[in-house]
Amino acid sequence: MNSKKLIAYSVRLVLYALVILFFGWIIKNHYFDYIFSESSTFLVLMRQHIELVVVSSVIAIIIAIPAGILITRPKFRKAEWVVSIIVNFLQTIPNLAVLALMISVLGIGFKTAVFALFLYSILPIFRNTVAGLDSIDKNLIDAAKGMGMKPSQILFRIELPNAVYSILAGVRTAVVLNIGTAALAYVIGGGGLGVWIFTGIQLFDNGYLLSGAIPVTLLAILADYLLRKLENVLVPKGSRREANT
């Protein structure tokens, strides 16, 4: 136990050291200069990037969670396998293919990018919602029903509170992936920090590349952190232990 802790601790120390070295190297080479010299452009791109992520994620959450709830209702259970086939099929389509497909339908621009990102975010959220609801002990539902709870009361008082950990994990996965994938929005004129990343790649300019890529990474880390914090608020205390083990 103690030696494990020691190893974990030293690994973490090494990682921190590497990160600090990395940033030192970047600053020494003035790779971040664009962020300051072209700060207004940077802020626009950053805002676009966040907008892409937020809009597409919110729509995905609004659609995927209710869809997951609906499909796990007894009436729709029978259709579950059809839906999982569709969902699994969608999952296998690469990001770029989704983007290409969307361009041919919606043309290029912000909307197309949002739509593509939305499609790609739906899957993890939907899957985790279904998995979370499915994993609830059937005896609990039986007990709830036997005590005279209505279906809506069972859903809101028993099922969702006990599935919220899994649902949030799905949202987190979706959002973090989304932040990375949103860099591709540049390809279809959707803006975002992808503009600098791709410029950097095309011009072999590490400055542009890193001024785009590092903020994207930091955004992803920040989103992950915030959503984990949200977990502490939303997951009921009693279910937390089970969820974590």
Partner: protein, 330 residues
């Protein structure tokens, strides 16, 4: 009171779980549904609160046809306990216990008082456990919480599906005793599923022995042990059914019929047994030769005589021949 009139449940044409069951559970009685796995005990139980539909026949609860009542309303008036306690992990103990009162819209004050009262019944400190979560309790404690949760809104009828089935024998026995104690106070009409013969004999006012969805015999435990209706029943209870029936009788019963022996004051190594203890315990004490003499004490802790294996054997002999009819009351 619960009455089953020609109740049948078929899941499919060749899967008939309950066949034409007629049964009346009297008010304030514990009726134990007993039988091998798959004989339809759970199905029969779940038809009462309409978790299973009734294919044929009707179930009357306090003279009202269950099908004519609103299912939600009906269930809120019937306590329901299952083997895997069914406590909700996301809720505190208090919230778990107060679910039905909450559904019924009780005031906070009333719920708090009721919770405190119920916790006292099972000997747990209400203040201590209120804000705890189910996973912080032992299996035995969880099961007891499951029981008082079913009692929370004081329903006249309780359905219990192997409520103590998952507990280890020592804890189980303790909780059985505790529950009987509670039942003496609350006097609910209870349908209780079990596949444990000893549990059935101990808990039941009457036992329903089932096979393949049919009732083999419906009788008091002592009747069923003394006069099994057919070979299936006698086989089910086994060759030692006479021995088992001993747990239904107390030293007092024996004393009333054949009397006790005088106390031999010269024997120093004695043990005492209370007059209200059951004969099964007495017999095992005698057989294990824990002492040279077993002295019987009464409520005033006075020694009123001694008891020997001979006494028990004599009593048993009468019992098997059915020459004695002894009330079960201890």
């Amino acid at each position: 009171m619960i009455a089953f009139n020609h109740v049948t449940k078929s899941f499919s044409e060749d899967n008939i779980a309950v066949k034409d069951v007629n049964l009346t559970v009297e008010k304030g009685h514990i009726v134990v549904l007993l039988g091998p796995s798959g004989c339809g005990k759970t199905t029969l139980l779940r038809m009462v609160n309409r978790l299973e539909s009734i294919s044929n026949g009707e179930i009357m609860i306090n003279n009202k046809n269950s099908m004519e009542l609103d299912a939600i309303e009906l269930r809120r008036n019937i306590g329901y306990v299952i083997q895997s306690n069914g406590l909700f992990p996301n809720m505190t103990i208090e919230d778990n216990v107060m679910i039905v009162p909450d559904l019924l819209g009780w005031s906070k004050q009333k719920k708090r008082e009721r919770f405190t009262y119920l916790m006292k019944l099972i000997g747990l400190d209400a203040q201590d456990y209120r804000k705890r979560y189910p996973h912080e309790l032992s299996g035995g404690q969880q099961q007891r919480i499951g029981v008082i949760r079913a009692l929370a809104a004081d329903p006249p009828v309780m359905l219990m599906d192997e409520p103590f089935g998952a507990l280890d024998p020592i804890i189980r026995e303790k909780i059985q005793d505790e529950f009987l104690q509670i039942q003496r106070e609350v006097k609910k009409t209870i349908l209780f599923v079990s596949h444990d013969i000893d549990e059935a004999i101990k808990m039941a006012d009457k036992i329903v022995l089932m096979r393949d969805g049919e009732i083999m015999q419906y009788d008091t435990p002592s009747e069923m042990l003394a006069h099994p209706k057919n070979e299936y029943v006698s086989k089910f209870f086994g060759k030692d059914r006479a021995l088992k029936s001993l747990s239904l009788h107390t030293v007092k019963n024996l004393q009333d019929i054949i009397g006790l022996a005088p106390i031999d004051a010269t024997i120093r190594d004695t043990k005492t047994i209370h007059v209200h203890q059951d004969l099964r315990t007495t017999l095992s004490m005698l057989m294990n030769q824990e002492a040279d003499q077993v002295v019987v004490t009464n409520d005033q802790d006075e020694n009123i005589g001694s008891i020997t294996i001979d006494h028990v054997q004599k009593y048993l002999h009468f019992e098997i021949k059915g020459e004695l009819s002894v009330s079960q009351e201890g």
